[in-house]
């Protein structure tokens, strides 16, 4: 039991930090531009595939640097030549543009790398068990993922709190118009923020690629969870996104490792109809409903706290 607890907590925090790498960019972009980037998970996927291709040519470590830069450049280009153009048509048009973009990116990835998973391997340097607890080997690569995401988290925090750019970004989180009135080049800040945000998602993609499956549907699988994180945390709230990322990471990881079901809990006391027309609900295990856990959480949050956990802004 303790073993399960420790391993699941580690995995949960890891997944949560990965989610936060993406959710942070998404939140900052949303706060500043007012547009929820539907294609954000697509940049995560682009990061993974760029990382795969570059690590094939030059090795994993250059890939860790170049792939996010490339994806960030693509992101900045999208902002400059796409989003800025549709901005005048309102937020719905912007959201639809990123929706179409997500669709096109998935198709392009399928055309270039195919529909089946690619063979993105953990670098040899990190391919060993980091430590053994309760006879389970914990891979070093996962520790590396955790370290990278924590390092980026700390770096982001420092940039936001201690630098001038961070100050402007923070100001734009709450008073986007005022920042413009104060004479900052809002267009360039937007492009920069969009580029950095998408690059962060791409970092998550590169480090998650070898550990999870690098496949053309990975954006489609992760995207909705990402939006749940942002809504549950409260739209536009960075601390909220952090809490929600960890929460959803932990909830999903723990759910996967649990095997309980209603029929198991009730045992022979199950009512008679449980075996017939309630069989589906009665027999389903917690592990099986793990994929819908985030959405259940979303519905609960919407009922009891529509603003999100730490949200203040009503959009």
């Amino acid at each position: 039991m303790l073993e399960l607890l420790v391993i699941s907590t580690l995995n949960g925090v890891l997944f949560g930090m990965l989610l936060f790498l993406m959710a942070s960019g998404l939140t900052v972009i949303f706060s500043m531009l007012g547009v929820l980037n539907f294609a954000h998970a697509s940049f995560y996927m682009l990061g993974a595939f760029f990382g795969f291709q570059i690590s094939r040519w030059f090795g994993f470590w250059p890939a860790l640097l170049i792939a996010p830069l490339l994806a960030g450049a693509v992101g900045a280009g999208v902002e400059r030549y796409g989003l800025r153009r549709v901005h005048k048509n309102g937020h719905v048009a912007e959201l639809l543009f990123t929706f179409g973009l997500a669709f096109v990116i998935e198709e392009v990835v399928q055309i270039i790398w195919g529909k089946s998973p690619v063979d993105f391997r953990v670098p040899a340097l990190l391919d060993f068990p980091a430590f053994t607890i309760f006879s389970t080997n914990y891979p070093a690569y996962k520790m590396f993922m955790l370290l990278v995401s924590i390092a980026i988290f700390v770096g982001l925090l420092l940039v936001l709190k201690k630098t001038r750019i961070g100050l402007i970004v923070q100001a734009a989180l709450t008073h986007p118009h005022m920042v413009g009135h104060l004479g900052h080049n809002v267009g360039r800040i937007f492009m920069l923020v969009f580029g950095v945000g998408t690059a962060l998602a791409a970092v998550a993609g590169v480090i998650a690629g070898p550990a999870l499956v690098t496949q053309s549907n990975m954006a489609g699988l992760l995207g909705p969870i990402l939006f749940v994180v942002v809504v549950v945390g409260g739209l536009g709230s960075l601390p909220g996104a952090f809490v929600a990322s960890l929460l959803i990471g932990l909830v999903q990881t723990f759910a996967v490792s649990m095997n309980g079901s209603l029929s198991g809990a009730f045992g022979p006391l199950s009512p008679a109809y449980a075996a017939t027309w309630l069989a589906d609900i009665w027999g389903v295990t917690i592990a099986q409903i793990a994929p819908i856990m985030p959405y259940l959480l979303l519905v609960l949050i919407l009922i009891f706290r529509p603003m999100g956990l730490l949200g203040t802004r009503d959009t």
């Binding site: 929820l36 929706f99 179409g100 198709e107 909705p224 069989a279 994929p291 979303l298 519905v299 959009t315």
Partner: protein, 433 residues
């Protein structure tokens, strides 16, 4: 008081306008009746049925997006649940020999859609805008993933099937042949379109528009925007359920793809490409997108990519959709200044088409090298055969793409000037543009 209301109420329409209005619906009914006489083949009947279903679904979607300003990414939930319930209903009715004929079955789908919209709508519609979009996405994923877990009801990946011919026969129709299904779909399409049009003319429909344009002001007038959004959501779910029911009857199967994100995306594409600003927009979009997806999939392997690119192009350059583009020209037609535009349109068309051709050539060539690299390089796309290995072709594609882009940019600026001239001329004649 009575004087004021008399002054505010719109004048009764003249007899000629009434005739025109009812004549339009009558004409639509006659066209629907005559279509199978003109195109009687099985495949075209299937296409017409699909278009009909898509029209109902897109219009129901536009109650949300166009009328009330709610962008939903999970509209397929109500479509799919309607479909599933109808399949189960057909099975139950068939097994118990209940006296219910097939033509009323879509109503079951509609009521299912309504029921789930009533259940899920209240929390979904608390907020509009981006929050609503994300919530609808979450709800959609919730239901779609649940469908794969609850295997007895949803039948897992395979889905649930039914036999539509086992029901009570009406006038000797067993609804086996496609032509009978076509008439069923056509009748329901006409009913649903009329009902949804009528809905836009009711006070509720007008309040929906008001909520879309200025929710704050709606509150001041004394309405609760949340309630208005909720009602619109329920109506939308009802009609989506009817569309899903017809789809389930048409294919005699319902599976989890009915509920999924792809179905929600398709209806969004159809509605937006058609144009959300006019009632007829989603109808145009449904016809266009259905024909496009059927036609393109024959012509090229990567039709979904073109589909996405068309959508992005519409979002970027024609936010009003196809109908929006056409309707822009109405004041010019009235003023008779449209002819001034035509030359610049024709000039702009040439480089634009060249650019599109270059883009398609490049895409097909790249697809040849990445998807099927081992195949014969003489590939055929859009009915045109060419040699993907030839460097001349690459050069041609590059020249068309880049040259076309550069020239097209210029010519579209010219179109802009011509447009300004034509509209100001129209304005001079007293027709507002």
């Amino acid at each position: 008081m009575s004087e004021i209301t008399a002054g505010v109420a719109p004048p009764l329409p003249a007899a000629a306008e009434k005739l025109k209005f009812y004549g339009m619906w009558l004409a639509a009914a006659i066209v629907l009746l005559l279509l199978p006489r003109m195109f009687g083949s099985g495949s075209s009947l299937t296409t017409f049925s699909l278009i009909g279903i898509s029209i109902i679904f897109s219009l129901s979607y536009n109650i949300l997006l166009g009328q009330t300003g709610m962008l939903s990414f999970g509209h397929a939930v109500y479509y799919g649940l309607g479909g599933f319930l109808v399949i189960h209903a057909i099975n139950i009715i068939g097994a118990n020999k209940l006296p219910i004929p097939l033509p009323v079955i879509p109503l079951i789908g509609g009521l299912t859609g309504l029921l789930f919209a009533v259940l899920l709508g209240w929390v979904s519609t608390q907020r509009s805008g981006t929050a609503f979009a994300m919530i609808s996405l979450g709800m959609g994923e919730l239901i779609a993933s649940s469908a794969l877990i609850l295997r007895t009801f949803f039948g897992g990946e395979a889905g649930v099937s039914a036999n539509r011919t086992k029901l009570l026969k009406l006038f000797g129709w067993n609804f086996g042949p496609q032509i009978q299904i076509y008439y069923l779909v056509a009748a329901w399409t006409l009913i649903a379109v009329i009902a949804m049009y009528a809905l836009t003319r009711t006070p509720l429909g007008r309040m929906c528009n008001a909520v879309r344009d200025n929710p704050e002001r709606v509150q001041f007038v004394g309405y609760n925007p949340h309630v208005v959004r909720y009602l619109a959501f329920c109506f939308s779910g009802f009609f989506a359920g009817i569309a899903g029911a017809l789809a389930a009857i048409n294919f005699e199967i319902a599976n989890s793809a009915y509920l999924g994100a792809e179905q929600s995306g398709t209806v969004l594409f159809a509605t937006y490409i058609g144009g959300v600003g006019f009632f007829i927009g989603p109808i145009v979009g449904a016809i266009f997108v259905t024909l496009l997806s059927l036609g393109l999939s024959d012509l090229t392997q990567v039709w979904r990519l073109y589909f996405g690119l068309i959508f992005i192009a519409v979002v970027l350059f024609a936010p009003g959709g196809i109908t929006g583009l056409l309707m822009m020209h109405r004041p010019l037609v009235k003023a008779g200044t449209l002819l001034r535009l035509l030359p610049s349109y024709l000039i702009a068309l040439v480089p634009t088409l060249a650019m599109i051709a270059g883009l398609a050539l490049s895409i097909e060539t790249i697809v040849h090298y990445t998807v099927n690299p081992g195949d014969d390089p003489n590939i055929k796309a859009f009915g045109v055969g060419f040699d993907a290995a030839s460097p001349y072709l690459w050069a041609l594609a590059a020249v068309l793409l880049i040259g076309g882009y550069l020239v097209a940019r210029r010519t579209w600026t010219m179109v802009g000037h011509a447009w300004d001239g034509a509209t100001s001329a129209a304005r001079d004649k007293g027709i507002a543009a």
